[in-house]
């Protein structure tokens, strides 16, 4: 500590904290504990986050039936930890499975805002992607991505439950990369499309 004109007689807690911090930093740098922690805990939490995707129990239209079928004996989404919760507070994934009408647009944004970060949005079916067969309608938005950022698109009208399961697989791939980044900070990450080679 160089002589900078400070009063050395008085107990300088700030300097003490700095000194201790410096020593700790040095120790961390030498032992690379931070790296250990970030690698081990980061990998582990990433694994947990992508293996346990609770989906909001929201049924809009046809694809909702395929969503339900994906949870039933033949397809069994529970194998991959996909569960359906009724409360948006306890969900990670917003599965938009139908056309978003003008009346429902602000409601779905509200549901999205009620979900805690990190949260993901899957647009399932043509209606949610682009309006689908109803793209000419006076009451239907041209895709849910006009109001909510979408992570994975699952085309089909409706997509089969296998495609939905594949969509969750793609979402897990994406989570490997983005981890728990909040939804507002993934603008650069381009959305994935099921079946897009």
């Amino acid at each position: 500590m160089a002589d900078t004109g400070e009063n050395f007689a008085a107990f300088n807690s700030r300097a003490l904290v700095e000194m201790v911090g410096g020593v700790t930093d040095e120790a961390l740098k030498v032992t690379k504990i931070k790296q250990f922690l970030s690698v081990l805990a980061g990998r582990f939490f990433n694994w947990a986050g992508r293996k346990s995707l609770f989906t909001l129990h929201l049924g809009i239209k046809c694809c909702a039936i395929e969503m339900a079928a994906a949870a039933t004996p033949r397809f069994d989404g529970d194998r991959f930890g996909v569960l359906f919760r009724s409360s948006p507070r306890q969900s990670d994934v917003l599965l938009v499975n139908g056309p978003v009408s003008k009346k429902f647009a602000d409601k779905i944004v509200r549901l999205w805002e009620q979900m805690p970060e990190p949260k993901y949005c899957i647009a399932m079916g043509e209606c949610a992607i682009s309006g689908g067969p109803y793209f000419q309608s006076y009451n239907i938005l041209e895709g849910v991505d006009t109001v909510i950022p979408v992570d994975v698109y699952i085309p089909g009208c409706p997509p089969r439950p296998e495609a939905l399961i594949d969509g969750f697989g793609l979402l897990r791939e994406k989570i490997i990369r983005i981890g728990g980044a909040p939804s507002s900070e993934r603008e650069s990450e381009k959305p994935l499309i099921v079946g897009d080679e």
Partner: protein
């Protein structure tokens, strides 16, 4: 506790879709209700005015997401009325079989969704498991799991595949035993009975007055079934009887009656398809090529201005009706106006008023027993 309004929906497990039920409760008792629809109003009627008559079928498939085949058939009969098309008898039989298979799948979906309403989660997976059998059969016909685009004006898209008959008979016979299994699981459970019996009374005359139709009315002892009153396909040639329930109270049918009548309808559908597949003209194991005159007769594609077509069809939830006016697009290629009558659009406001006086916990039971489908409601 003071009275308060609770808004159930649009995202709510009870709604089976996207609509809002506003309930005024006094403690646990429902005092007043209000139904709010239109969350997935897609303007199908408007879009169809710019589609030609063949292109309307996929939109009708997508009207109700659990009974696509019956809704497409319903439209096809209206279009055939408008365009004066003739249908080969084999095609009528195939339509009957496909519609009844769809009815089985739809009622299974209803039972599966009704289970969690009451709190029985296993019922859901069991019913969906059995529903897959019928989806597989319909997939053999239409090529898709849910929206088949199968009937054509003047026939059907393609014939039943070879071996379809045997597979169908085996599955339907298996399913007839499964119905007994469900009834054993449900009817012998006291909890199931105390939750359903005496809840959600709806009187026959009130319901007819309000415009409710289908199994919901037949549960109250009304012997009216479109298949019986205005038989449109070959329903007068196959072996079946309308399933009519005998209500136990002057107040009409309760949830249990509606549950029973749907179980019985499933039995009747099984009986019907088993009979129809034997009676089908041309033989059950022959496969005619696409467009063969046994299954398809070419129909005119244009309708003059002023011509109208109307169909009254027994869908899985009640009488669905189409009213088409020809002469759109200047050349008669499109419908000028296509109007759809959805049974659930009438039923949901009625059911909302039915709940008054019951407990909050009865709302899902009552609503589920009427089998709401919002796709057809909002159109």
């Amino acid at each position: 506790m003071a009275q308060m309004w609770i808004t159930m929906g649009p995202q709510h497990p009870m709604t089976h879709g996207l609509w809002t039920l506003r309930v005024k409760v006094d403690g646990e008792t429902v005092v007043d209700t209000e139904a709010e629809l239109g969350y997935i109003h897609r303007g199908v009627e408007k879009i169809c005015e710019s589609r030609d008559f063949t292109q309307v079928t996929p939109y009708c498939d997508r009207l109700c997401y659990v009974s696509a085949m019956t809704w497409a058939n319903s439209y096809i009969y209206a279009a055939e009325d408008l365009l004066e098309a003739d249908v080969p008898e084999r095609a009528e039989y195939i339509r009957l079989i496909s519609a009844e298979l769809q009815r089985l799948a739809s009622h299974l979906m209803w039972l599966g969704a009704f289970g969690p309403d009451i709190g029985n989660l296993t019922l859901m997976t069991w019913c969906m498991r059995d529903r897959e059998m019928f989806l597989d059969l319909l997939q053999e016909l239409g090529g898709s799991r849910m929206h088949y685009n199968y009937p054509r004006i003047g026939g059907v898209k393609r014939d039943i595949p070879v071996g379809f008959a045997d597979r169908m008979i085996a599955k339907v016979k298996l399913f007839e035993r499964r119905i007994d299994e469900y009834e054993m699981m449900l009817d012998e459970s006291t909890i199931w009975l105390v939750r359903l019996q005496g809840v959600g009374y709806a009187n026959a005359e009130e319901m007819v007055e309000a415009g409710v139709s289908g199994p919901n009315v037949r549960a109250a002892g009304v012997n009216y079934d479109v298949r019986w009153a205005h038989p449109y396909s070959v329903y007068d040639e196959v072996d079946w009887e309308p399933a009519v329930e005998k209500p136990t109270s002057v107040k009409g049918a309760d949830c249990y009656d509606r549950y029973r009548v749907r179980m019985e309808e499933m039995r009747q559908s099984c009986r019907m398809v088993l009979d129809a597949i034997e009676k089908i003209p041309g033989g059950k194991n022959t496969n005619y090529a696409n467009g063969d005159e046994m299954i398809y007769q070419k129909a005119p594609t244009r309708a003059p201005e002023g011509a109208t077509g109307f169909s009254n069809y027994e869908c899985t939830r009640g009488a669905s009706q189409f009213y088409i006016q020809g002469g759109g697009d200047g050349r008669g290629k499109n419908p000028y106006r296509l109007s759809i009558r959805s049974p659930m659009f009438i039923t949901i406001p009625f059911v909302a008023k039915t709940m008054i006086g019951y407990k909050v916990a009865d709302i899902p039971a009552i609503m589920g027993s009427f089998d709401p489908c919002i796709g057809e409601t909002d159109r």
